[in-house]
Amino acid sequence: MTKCILFLLLLGVSVPACFAGARRFTYNYEAMTAAPGGFEFENWVTWKTSKPDDRSFNEVDFRHEIEFGLTDRLQAAIYLADWNYAEGKSVDDPGFMYTASALELVYNLTNPVADPLGLSFYQEIRAGRRVFESESKLIAQKNVGRFAFVYNATLEATWEGRGLDDRAGEIQQSLGASYEVNPRLFIGAECLHEIELPEWKRPERGFFFAGPNASVRSGRFWATATALAQLTNAGGEPDFQLRTIFGVAF
């Protein structure tokens, strides 16, 4: 019943903007940046459900982002608000909660079409309720005809808790492939591999997710969704997660 309500909530949030598309992936970033003067509003919804050690777990994360191109190579984004709804016996504070806001910069070095390999650097600073995070990425991409392949290597540093005393790191790598069926429809797959470093000490066992994705676009609107299943059996990670991003360009 609860899962049904969460799913309907997910749909309810998504319907107003779900006519169309510009990101091919939801868990991977692409190397190309927005055109200078370009401006886009994105809404993210991520549903995570059922952990190996908590089958009652459900969480829906929301993110509202404004993205704009500053120069031919530099793009900035503001995450106005990240908030979520969570429930389950493993959740400390069930219910709705604001988590953080963030600033992101992406600098493009080479182009995935014109150059042998497209590369970009990404930096995000995220701050909020008892949390401060720095996320750095190297984004590699190659477009070959209708195919696009992307690889992200990410290092994340987190400070959490009342005095931001709890330090942790995370190494993440992700891979995506997408095929342009026609200019309005893209299909593909993504996979995600994460290794947590509590207190920046010995790494915990990594976990791995993989699943299909699809992206549609029409005019100024686009929507992309990825469903990931956990292929490992990490107790604290969800068995299934579905991320959708809805965007409109201005």
Partner: protein, 106 residues
């Protein structure tokens, strides 16, 4: 170990495609015949080169690189008119991309 297949896949993708030339047929480089044809339309070589660069960088933010010859010459001004707003092209950039496409089309 999960890490090994991911690294192997990533390496394969990079190695397999990093040397590929994917633009020579879709958007051929600006060459002599193209420059001469454009000159008859009062378009210089620099405009063509800038137009090709914009085609490669801006248009592919949303879709794969179009093959210039897949649409009749007369259709391109209409297509580009529809697309240039989305790519945030200025009137001068729009004119440069169109000049390149028409020159490449032949």
């Amino acid at each position: 170990m999960i890490r090994t297949p991911i690294i192997a896949a990533a390496t394969l993708v990079v190695v397999a495609f990093s040397g590929c030339e994917t633009t020579s047929t879709s958007a051929p480089p600006v060459r002599g015949a193209m420059v001469q044809a454009a000159a008859r339309e009062q378009v210089d070589e620099q405009t063509l080169i800038a137009g090709r660069e914009l085609l490669l960088r801006r248009c592919t933010e949303c879709h794969s690189l179009p093959v210039v010859s897949e649409h009749p010459r007369a259709e391109w001004p209409v297509i580009l008119q529809r697309m240039s707003g989305r790519a945030n092209l200025t009137p001068a950039q729009h004119a440069g991309v169109l000049a390149y496409i028409l020159a490449a089309h032949g």
